[in-house]
């Protein structure tokens, strides 16, 4: 065993005998950071595993084939049947109407699911009262099962009747569990009926927006890849969409991945905050060890031996912190499993996931190395002569160049690992850059505050005000706590401030901006022969305006003859089908940014006007040829113009518009937006529903509420993540406050000796903490606002508005937190007897 290791072993033993007193903040900070990341990672893995395990049940079959707005042709159905047992599902939105007395009726939006006798192929549909679905849906009038939320909203009990379109159904049961419901974004709760019973309801007319899915239970021993290839060969160019159980809920998986990646970023920010505590703890430890280091040097130890001794000691504590953090991170999801199961929309397979824990351990190790290297490197520069002086700090200046390079390498490794592993590389880099900038801003502020305080302490006006002057002297003088307090609190508050500002902006974007311009109703499935009557609603004095446009749904499958996803990647416009419209003239107030709209009466080759921003993202140019698969048919067109489309107004906005001749003969429906007084909305809905039972009206207000609800859930998850950061920040702050206790006990003893009362000393302590809290809060508010601006502007692509309430809360919180932490440690200095303190220093 080398000398360094032997000495290190003795140091480690001494540390443990001492109850790791100097390392508690180190342990808590590092363990908390690691635990937060490990817990988030474990939950993500649990959801992914749950989705994989339950993939077939969530999808409703081993594979699912979807045709947009049409059913499979007999030949297509035959090809599907050849793969295994097939169940057909039809889904669309409609209105449930419950007739009341005297022509009055209650109405609510619903997502109708039409099923056949084979549904569900996998999983169990649980009904209340319990019983087989077939029995529930049988009878006359035909039975239906309904989401309890919808049944309660409409006051329906088993046996009551209601209408879908023009047809009457009987509520047979409430749906307790729907196996293939992955908790996606649904505007209306579920109503489940037999597809055959929808005949004559007027709801599945040509052009109506509905989805037909064919769930397939493959023949025993069949392979998914082989089945997919076989269907592709049998049905070329039919525009179907294939999904299989390997990815049962891709949208949900994407959402969970994004949210957890974001939470990991918040966790990394927490680790950075904890890193400040770690660095402070190691620095304080090395200052404590100055005499030991100087003695070892006197006895002939070289700098590298000193470094090795303490690196081994810190390494041992890091291993302990890692173990604690991983244990906590793995245990938290297990402990919270029942709670998580209630909150999560999917069955999560909560368990221990080594990959998630490994990732957290990697981040933790790199962060520990990064934040301990500097003080360790400085410690080896302590000179033997330090024995003869009072040591209050480590040697000034930068560490040796090799350590600077190593610090840079560790930082690069940490940021690199996060960038590679997070799944959101750009946002990770922005976050890392933001944190570094905040770090620099806080250091600069700490420096500035010290300079200012030093100057202010000498102001003639403050002479005679001992409490203020000693407070300023403490903040500005040598060995003060300004840097560690401002950094530890400031970084935590910056993360909170940024999240607060982002959340406030999200809320204001939804709650304030949108309703000012949003229509009352969005009406879909309007048949061409009904559109004139809908337009005529403008005759109603309480209707401000009606906008209408024909709508077809199409998949943008090819760009210039090449597969669209190959050309433009995973853009949202290419995900699934998009609305396509046609129009002889550009919609009112449209700005054409390039090219020209087709002339009136144009009847040449198909032309397309494409939304400008999305075209730029997809890399499209004027003259490009696009292939759209509409109702199974490929329609080609050339891009003739780009135009500005604002999707944020909740009005009618189509990515793609074509000349009328291209589309008007295809079966289609119209959509309309109705702008009306809020007070008249219910009456208008009643009128439209009475006259056009097939038309589905979506209340924009309800939709916005639903979006707000979902965003609130996301905001809550992020806030929980940020709370972990704040807890870490608070621990660091408490650590900083505790670390300064000895200095303050000494200061108080001297002040008492020269005649200061405890009130004067307490006022001085309170003031210095308030000054530091204010400084940290101010920087955090500014840095957080800057970060939020970046996220709002570049990630959310909305305008940023400064939220003063959130900023003030951060500044106030900063002051209160520092005051509480500081004053919690004030009793010791105030109570200490000067004689003992001062003599202990002699």
């Amino acid at each position: 065993m080398s000398a360094a290791r032997r000495i290190a072993a003795r140091e480690i033993r001494a540390g443990f005998r001492n109850g790791l007193r100097g390392f508690r903040v180190f342990l808590v900070c590092l363990a908390l950071g690691i635990a937060a990341i490990a817990a988030v990672g474990s939950v993500r893995e649990a959801i992914t595993e749950g989705l994989t395990r339950e993939g077939a049940a969530l999808l409703g079959g081993d594979a699912s084939v979807e045709f947009t707005y049409r059913s499979a042709e007999p030949a297509e159905r035959a090809a599907l049947d050849a793969l295994g047992r097939v169940s057909e599902i039809v889904e669309f939105r409609s209105m449930v109407t419950v007739p009341r007395t005297e022509g009055e009726a209650d109405r609510a939006l619903t997502e109708v699911k039409g099923v056949d006798g084979d549904y569900p192929l996998y999983g169990d549909l649980v009904l209340d009262p319990p019983g087989p679905l077939g029995e529930a849906l049988a009878g006359s009038p035909p039975g239906a099962a309904m989401d309890p939320v919808l049944a309660d909203r409409l006051g329906l009990s088993a046996g009551d009747t209601f209408r879908l379109g023009t047809k009457t159904f009987r509520l047979a049961a409430r749906i307790e569990t729907e196996p293939d419901e992955a908790g996606g974004f649904d505007l209306g709760p579920r109503t489940l009926v037999r597809t055959a019973d929808l005949d004559g309801a007027g709801l599945l007319e040509p052009g109506t927006i509905y989805e037909t899915e064919y769930r397939i239970a493959l023949l025993p021993g069949a392979d998914l890849d082989a089945a997919e290839a076989r269907l592709a060969a049998a049905l070329p160019d039919t525009g179907y969409r294939w999904r299989d159980a390997r990815e049962g809920a891709p949208g949900l998986q994407r959402f969970v991945d994004r949210l957890s990646a974001f939470l990991v970023l918040v966790g990394l920010a927490g680790l950075a905050v904890g890193g400040v505590g770690v660095a402070s703890a190691v620095r304080a430890h090395m200052v404590d060890k100055t005499a030991t280091v100087a003695t070892l040097k006197t006895l002939g130890a070289e700098g590298r031996t000193i470094f090795a001794v303490f690196a081994l000691q810190i390494g041992a504590v890091t291993v302990l912190a890692l173990a604690l953090g991983l244990l906590l991170g793995a245990a938290l999801p297990l402990a919270a499993a029942p709670l998580l199961a209630d909150r999560l929309p999917v069955p999560a397979a909560i368990g221990i996931y080594p990959a998630a824990l490994g990732q957290a351990a990697l981040y933790g190790t790199l962060a520990a190395a990064l934040f301990t290297l500097w003080p360790l490197a400085k410690a080896q520069d302590i000179r033997a002569a330090a024995l003869f002086r009072e040591a209050g700090s480590l040697p000034p200046g930068l560490p040796r160049p090799a350590f600077l390079v190593a610090t840079g390498a560790l930082l690069a490794a940490l940021v690199g690992a996060a960038t590679l592993l997070s799944g959101i590389p750009l946002l990770t880099l922005y976050t890392a850059g933001g944190l570094l900038a905040a770090f620099a801003a806080l250091l600069a502020t700490a420096w500035g505050v010290r300079r200012l305080a030093r100057r202010a302490a000498r102001l003639p006006a403050l002479r005679g005000r001992t409490a203020i002057r000693t407070a300023l002297g403490s903040v500005g003088g040598p060995g003060g706590e300004a840097a560690s307090v401002v950094l530890s609190l400031g970084l935590g508050l910056t993360v909170l401030a940024a999240i607060g500002q982002i959340e406030a902006n999200l809320r204001s974007a939804i709650e304030r901006d949108l309703p000012q311009v949003a229509p009352s109703y969005f009406m879909v499935d309007i048949q061409p022969d009904q559109i004139d009557a809908i337009r005529a609603l403008t005759d109603d004095p309480e209707v401000e305006s009606v906008e209408a446009a024909p709508m077809l749904r199409g998949i943008l499958s090819e760009i210039d003859g090449r597969d669209a996803t190959e050309v433009a990647g995973d853009h949202w416009v290419l995900r699934g089908d998009r609305g396509v419209t046609y129009s002889a003239e550009p919609p009112p107030d449209t700005t054409i940014t390039a090219g020209e709209w087709w002339p009136p009466g144009y009847d040449g080759p198909n032309l397309i006007s494409f939304a400008a921003e999305e075209a730029q993202e997809l890399g499209l140019s004027l003259g490009d040829t696009l292939t759209l698969n509409i109702l199974g048919r490929d329609i080609e067109g050339e891009i003739a113009s780009f135009r500005e489309v604002d999707f944020s107004t909740a009005g009618i906005g189509f990515v793609m518009a074509m000349n009328p001749a291209a589309l008007q003969d295809a079966p289609h429906t119209w959509i309309a937006t109705i702008y009306a007084d809020e007070a008249a909305e219910a009456r208008i809905l009643r009128d439209v529903a009475e006259r056009f039972p097939n038309v589905t009206a979506i209340s924009v207000r309800d939709a916005i509420d639903r979006v707000s609800q979902i965003l609130s859930g996301v905001a809550a998850a992020v806030t929980y993540g940020a709370a972990a950061t704040l807890v870490t920040g608070a621990v660091v702050l408490v650590g900083a406050a505790a670390a300064g206790t000895r200095a303050r006990v000494y200061e108080a003893a001297i002040l008492k000796t020269v005649g200061a009362s405890r009130a004067t000393i307490l006022a001085s302590f309170a003031l210095r903490w308030a000054i530091l809290g204010l400084a940290a809060g101010l920087v955090a508010a500014v840095a957080g606002a800057a970060g939020a601006w970046g996220v709002t502007r570049f990630v959310m692509e909305t305008d940023y508005v400064f939220a003063p309430a959130s900023a003030l809360a951060v500044i106030g919180g900063g002051i209160v937190l520092t005051l509480v932490a500081g004053l919690a440690f004030a009793w010791g200095p105030l109570a200490a007897r000067p004689a003992r303190i001062l003599r202990a220093r002699d």
Binding site: G464, T470, E747, K752, T753, V754, A756, R841, D842
Partner: protein, 230 residues
């Protein structure tokens, strides 16, 4: 107690809690010090000299007996009352200087004057530093000064409020011979010029010899020779 008695101890005792149980530091000390007197407190290490000085200054509370200064019973005074008493009547100098590290020399010296509400505390503090030959060090922090300079600042701080009592606990213990001698000259000079009572704890026989009276402590008690002398 005669009118010119400035410090009076009657069977003063001090017992502190140690790891191995209570430790008796002072075992019943009775003495009085007169106004303007210079008293050297001597004795072997651990005899209780410094503790006795702390008890005299109200920095440590006697656990038995009675300690009074200027006719005030220090045992009956609260922590803040003791602090207020010291700010006007007592100056204390320590072996390790004990300057506030976050304050400059001038600020350190001005602090007791400010606390006492003296007008122009900084002017007085500057004069006190000038007297100590430290005019050029006013704006320096303790960490930027030598040990001798720091002790002169501590001396200026103790003397600036013109206290009636100066307590010095081995003020030259951390200084080299010539520097220590210079400090002692300053201390005795202060005593001579301002008529302050000086109680000095020291190991150095020559310093003790400069005092008007020497009191010897042994194992927490006054040594018999001193008791005899008294």
């Amino acid at each position: 107690m005669a009118d010119d008695t400035i410090l009076d101890l009657d069977d003063a005792r001090l017992t502190l809690d140690g790891n191995a149980g209570p430790v008796e530091i002072l075992k019943g000390v009775s003495l009085s010090v007169k106004r303007g007197e210079t008293v050297g407190l001597v004795g072997p290490s651990g005899s209780g000299k410094s503790s006795l000085l702390m008890v005299m200054g109200g920095l440590e509370r006697a656990t038995g007996g009675r300690v009074s200064a200027l006719g005030h019973d220090l045992g009956a005074m609260g922590e803040d009352a003791l602090a207020r008493f010291r700010r006007t009547h007592m100056g204390v100098v320590f072996q390790s200087f004990h300057l506030i590290p976050t304050m400059t020399a001038l600020e350190n010296v001005a602090t007791p004057l400010e606390l006492a509400g003296r007008p122009d505390a900084f002017g007085h503090a500057a004069s006190a530093l000038d007297e100590m030959g430290l005019a050029h060090r006013r704006d320096h922090y303790p960490s930027e000064m030598s040990g001798g300079e720091q002790q002169r600042v501590a001396l200026a701080r103790a003397a600036a409020p013109r206290p009636g009592i100066l307590l010095a606990d081995e003020p030259t213990g951390n200084l080299d011979g010539p520097t220590g001698a210079a400090i002692m000259d300053l201390l005795f000079d202060l005593n001579a010029r301002h008529g302050a009572t000086l109680v000095l704890v020291t190991h150095a026989p020559d310093l003790a010899a400069r005092c008007g009276r020497t009191i010897r402590l042994e194992d927490g008690r006054l040594a018999p020779d001193r008791q005899a002398a008294e």
